[in-house]
């Protein structure tokens, strides 16, 4: 399986800018740097789209453009929260107006499959179209759907992405659950503050997965594995070592580990332990200081890994060996754990 092209909208402008100088924020909420959509999507359509739809559609279209494909065999999206702004808009009006004087637009756009549907509509693409909405596994489910669809011979090239947005309401609510740092910190130093909470994030990242190598791919995706609510750190370790063994990969073969550390002391314990055991002496980088924490952030990590392999450069580690094998290990709220193995083509 090959990653032929990528499209990404995040709190970082681009991979090349990230190599030069990553965007640093002093806040507990990292929002996306949005492009000039009019160069990507018909301006008449943009006007009606809410922010998540614009970000998702634009990232998807950029990805297809790079691959030179306008009719993928499948369009598969992962989103934990779906179209929050539209949902909130309809819900608030419904509550405020006591179920009267409502208009359909926000409701129509509130369904979780809107991003995938809008991409299909713009492309007039009648092929397979699916949307997964399983919290910290939303993107991983979409990826597994894509991989198994390709393995079944039902598709050769699949557009697959992960997308989630922050709204004022979602940030307020998740803050009440104690997810985020209460004092604004520099995003560059969230791993040093060692306190409680992380920083909120959002993003849209799409990939064109292809069965065959094109000769100009970002990376080969060797394997993906997820595990749910592991009983303890030893179970996490076992899942990782079994995953590597299944792929006949030795820890020594891995040039770079991208970890899902998020700056919350309790959340990060598992990564600390791994760095003293399985990942000892391995080159590793974090990514959530760049994009924030959100359920589909592993799509950002995959984008980062694909770019590291393609360019041979690791952001923040300019002198490190050119990575040809990368392992991503992420977990969301210690519930949803995912592993990705990538290699140079």
């Amino acid at each position: 399986m090959y990653i032929r092209s990528v499209g990404n909208i995040s709190a970082q402008l681009s991979f090349s800018q990230l190599l030069k100088e990553p965007a640093v924020y002093t806040t507990n909420r990292l929002t996306c740097i949005e492009p000039d959509y009019s160069t990507i999507v018909d301006p008449k359509l943009i006007r009606r789209m809410s922010r998540i739809i614009k970000m998702g559609v634009a990232a998807g279209m950029e990805c297809l453009k790079e691959a030179g494909i306008n009719n993928p065999d499948a369009i598969i999206t992962g989103t934990a929260y779906g179209c929050l702004a539209d949902t909130e808009s309809f819900l608030s009006k419904m509550v405020e107006n006591k179920e009267e004087l409502l208009t359909p637009t926000a409701f129509i756009q509130s369904t979780h499959n809107t991003v995938g549907a809008q991409i299909a509509l713009m492309l007039k693409c009648h092929n397979y179209n699916n949307t997964f909405v399983h919290r910290g596994f939303s993107f991983e489910s979409a990826m597994l759907d894509a991989i198994t669809l390709i393995n079944d011979g039902d598709a050769a090239s699949v557009l697959v992405g992960g997308v989630d947005e922050i709204t004022n309401t979602s940030h307020q609510l998740l803050s009440r659950f104690g997810l985020y740092k209460t004092n604004p910190v520099s995003s560059a130093s969230i791993f040093e503050s060692e306190g409680k909470g992380t920083v909120d994030g959002e993003g849209a990242a799409f990939f064109l997965l292809d069965k065959k190598a094109s000769g100009n791919d970002y990376a080969a995706l060797k394997a993906l594995h997820t595990f749910y609510k592991p009983a303890g750190k030893s179970v996490v370790e076992k899942n990782i070592s079994d995953f590597l063994a299944m792929q006949s990969v030795d820890a020594n073969d891995i040039d770079l580990i991208i970890t899902g550390k998020n700056g919350d002391r309790k959340n990060d314990e598992v990564y600390e332990q791994l760095s003293a055991s399985l990942f000892k002496n391995k080159v590793s980088v974090n990514y959530k200081h760049l994009c924030g924490e959100y359920p589909t952030s592993s799509a950002f990590a995959l984008w980062l890994a694909a770019n590291c392999i393609k360019t041979g450069i690791i952001p923040g580690l300019p002198t490190a060996k050119k990575p040809s094998t990368i392992l991503i290990y992420n977990n969301y709220l210690s519930i949803h754990h995912s592993l990705y193995l990538l290699s140079a083509c």
């Binding site: 419904m94 409701f107 509509l121 997964f132 909405v133």
Partner: protein
Amino acid sequence: MSAPVYIAGTGVISAIGDNSAACLAALENEQAGMAEMRILDSIHRNRLPVAEVKWTNEQLASLAGMKPHISRTALLSCIAAKEALHDAGIENFSSLRTGFISANTVGGMDKTENFFKDFLADPKKGKLRDVINHECGAATELVADELGIKNYVSTISTACSSSANSIFFGARLIRQNILDVVIAGGTDALAKFTLNGFNTLMILDQQYCQPFDENRRGLNLGEGAGYVVLVSEKIAAALKKKPFSRLSGYCNANDAYHQTASSPDGTGSFLAMKGALAKSGLQPADINYINLHGTGTQNNDIAEGTAIKILFEPAYPQMSSTKSFTGHTLGASGAIEAVFSVLAIRDGLIYPNLRFETQMKELPFAPATKFKKGEKINHVLSNSFGFGGNCSSLIFSKI
């Protein structure tokens, strides 16, 4: 599809019954589930009939063995999933690689919409426990944890076709030897959010719906959950109760016409049905019964009917919309109707399309209006089409 995937058990709860047997009895006795709203507290109570499951959340919680304060979406899901698992009677369940793949459209919205009343007045107010399970995936995890399923959990949301997709995705994971057993289906509870959303689209019938009728006026919303237990050939061979049906074909296609409306000639519906037939290696003439998406809206029924006309001409299978009993249960509908399709194969049944009066003038066929037993049902096609142009068709076949 090379390696077969078998249906080892079914579970369902809807306005017409709390389990598969009760739903079958209502289908036979032509007892529709629509009535005046009793559980949902909406200003539309006296105007819009709905197909509610007749139990309060407290009653559902005791049926499900869960806490009463959690979302109705999860309570309904748990009841149907437990029935399906019990029906399959898999003995060495815990030693198998098992997945729970569910679907829904609005997750814990039934709780969130009440939370929002307090929250909008003051963002520091509102009980967090009413919003903690808002995400679609949360309902799935509550039930997976209750069932003790850990190997794989996932949730799909493609509007009204959601749970048809969870069934073929589960089957694919079995066929590729990733899992041994999958409980696949979907759930949705009635919510004011959905009711008002459909109301703004002006596609709700103020009377009981009349799918595929020339004078149809719209749909009635319903609620419920449905699951099938999917197993590999190896697991099926070890079961005490031998499976009688298998998933023989499926297809997911997109209409790519409009965010909420179907194309006039039902392009997406046609592609989904045609693709499912191709996957199963069957000819249109092999299909004995079509469980229609048949919502009762002007738009769906003409699009779906036209697609059937093009694909099946000149010999049309018997067909009906069981939404004339259950209402449109959205994220649950594909799975509830999959359960009805599988039971039609087991017992040789054709379900009636209630309240049908006048054949649609554009179509050369009409749905079945009488319950029939002792029919030879070898292959059933089940359609689920939704917003976003998402169209999926499943084919179940007798073993």
